[in-house]
Subunit: 212 residues, 2 copies
DNA sequence: GTTTGATTTAAACGATCGTTTTAAAAAGTC
DNA sequence: GACTTTTTAAAACGATCGTTTAAATCAAAC
C-alpha cells in the first residue's frame, strides 16, 4: 500500500462521510489528501471502484470479527441458544464502538451514508458483503427466539439493523452530546444502554409472537 | 397551488427519495414532471428553496397531528404520565404508516434521506421544524420515566428517533418484504411489532437506570 | 550513466449541474 | 381589441464533475 494511496483513502473516508457517494468529489478528496487529481484514477480506477475498495477494506475485518466472536460464543454455549443480548452485542458493538474516535466515526458514518444510497452497485455490494454474516446471525437469532417463524425472525433482525444504521448516521447530531467532549466512560455507558435498548426491543416485541 | 407546481413537487419528491438532495437533479425533476427546466426556479426559486418547501409542506401537518394527538392523550390521563408505548405510537406511527402507499413511501424516504444529509441549511431546518415537537414529547417522556435524569431522557428519545429514521430509510430494502406485494394487514402487523420493539427498548433499557 | 518502468503532474475533454436571460405564449383586466 | 401580468419556452452562462491524455519526474536495475 503506497503512501499516496493511504492518503487518498483517508481523505476519501472523510469526504464520503461528509457528503455521501454522489455528493463526494474526487477533486475535494485529492485536495484533502494533498495529491494530484489524476492519482485517484491512477491508483484506484473509477470513483465507484474507490468506494468499493474503501468499504471492503473496512467492512471485511469488521464482519470477520463479528463472525469469529459469534462462533466462539456458540461454542461456549455448546449447541444451546446464545441469548439475545449477547447476539445483539456481538453484532452491534464492533461497528458502534468505533464512533468515539474521529477517524473511526468518519468510517462509520461514511459506511452508513454510502451504503444507504440506492445505487445499483451499492445495493449489490451490500448484499455481497453482508450475506454471510446475516445468515450466520439469522440462524443464531432463530435458535434464540423459538416459536417465531422464519419471516418473523428476519423482521426482528431488520429492526436491529435499522436501529444500528440509524444510530450510525444520527450519532453526530445527537443534541445532548455534540460538542461536549464526550469521555470514553460516558460513551461506553451510552453504548451499553443502546445495546440494551435493542436487546430489550427484540425480546419485548417477540414475546407476544411466541405466545401465539 | 398551480398545476405545474403540483407536478413539480410530485416529481421532486420521487427524485429526492431516490437520490437525496445533492444527488437529485433539477433537470431530472422537470423531465419527470413534464415541465420546462426553468419552471422550478420560476416557481420555487433555488433547489434549496424547493426542498425546504417540500419538507415544510409535508412535515408541518405531520407534526401538527403528532402534537394534537399528544395533547388529547395527555388530557385523557389528567396530569398522570402517558405510558411509553402510547407515546412511541403517537410519535412514530404517523410517519411510518405512510410507507405503505407508493407516494407516501416516496415522501417518507425523501424526508429521511434529505434530512440526514449534513448540509448547513438542512441541519438548521431540522432543528427549526422538530424543536417544538421534540420538547413536547421530551416532557412527556420525562414524566413517563421518573428517576431518569434530563440527559438520560434525551438519550432515550434519540434512540427512538434513530430507530424510526433507520426504518424510514431501510424499509424499501427489507429483504423479506420487497416485491411481495405487502398487504395492508401484514404491513400493519409489522408496524405494530416495530412500535412494540421501540417501546420495549425504551422501557427495558430504562429499568436499570431507574433502579440506581 | 542509461534504460526501463512506475508515479506524478498539468492540461484538457465531454458531460452535467443550478441558474439566468430573453423572448414567446397564455391569461387576465379594462 | 389593446394592454398588462403571469407563465412557459429555448438557449445560454459559468461552474463543477469524473475521466483521460501526454509529458515530466522519479526509482530501480543493469
Amino acid at each position: 500500500m503506497n503512501d499516496t494511496q493511504i492518503k487518498i483513502l483517508e481523505a476519501a473516508e472523510a469526504e464520503f462521510a461528509e457528503f455521501g457517494f454522489v455528493g463526494a468529489s474526487i477533486r475535494n478528496i485529492t485536495q484533502r489528501a494533498g495529491v494530484n487529481l489524476a492519482s485517484v484514477n491512477y491508483h484506484f480506477g473509477t470513483k465507484e471502484q474507490l468506494i468499493k475498495h474503501l468499504l471492503l477494506f473496512r467492512i471485511t475485518p469488521l464482519n470477520q470479527l463479528r463472525l469469529n466472536n459469534l462462533h466462539k460464543e456458540q461454542e461456549r454455549h455448546q449447541g444451546e441458544a446464545v441469548p439475545i443480548p449477547i447476539l445483539v452485542n456481538l453484532l452491534v458493538r464492533p461497528a458502534l464502538e468505533k464512533m468515539l474516535t474521529v477517524e473511526g466515526g468518519q468510517f462509520v458514518r461514511a459506511m452508513a451514508r454510502c451504503m444507504s444510497e440506492p445505487l445499483g452497485f451499492i445495493e449489490s455490494l451490500d448484499r455481497d458483503v453482508f450475506h454471510e454474516i446475516f445468515t450466520a446471525y439469522y440462524l443464531a437469532f432463530q435458535k434464540a427466539l423459538p416459536g417465531l417463524d422464519e419471516q418473523a425472525v428476519a423482521i426482528q433482525m431488520n429492526f436491529v439493523v435499522c436501529t444500528m444504521v440509524g444510530m450510525m448516521m444520527h450519532f453526530p447530531r445527537m443534541d445532548n452530546l455534540r460538542g461536549k467532549n464526550l469521555s470514553k466512560e460516558k460513551f461506553d455507558q451510552i453504548l451499553d444502554q443502546f445495546i440494551d435498548f435493542i436487546s430489550s426491543g427484540v425480546e419485548g416485541s417477540s414475546q407476544c409472537l411466541i405466545h401465539s
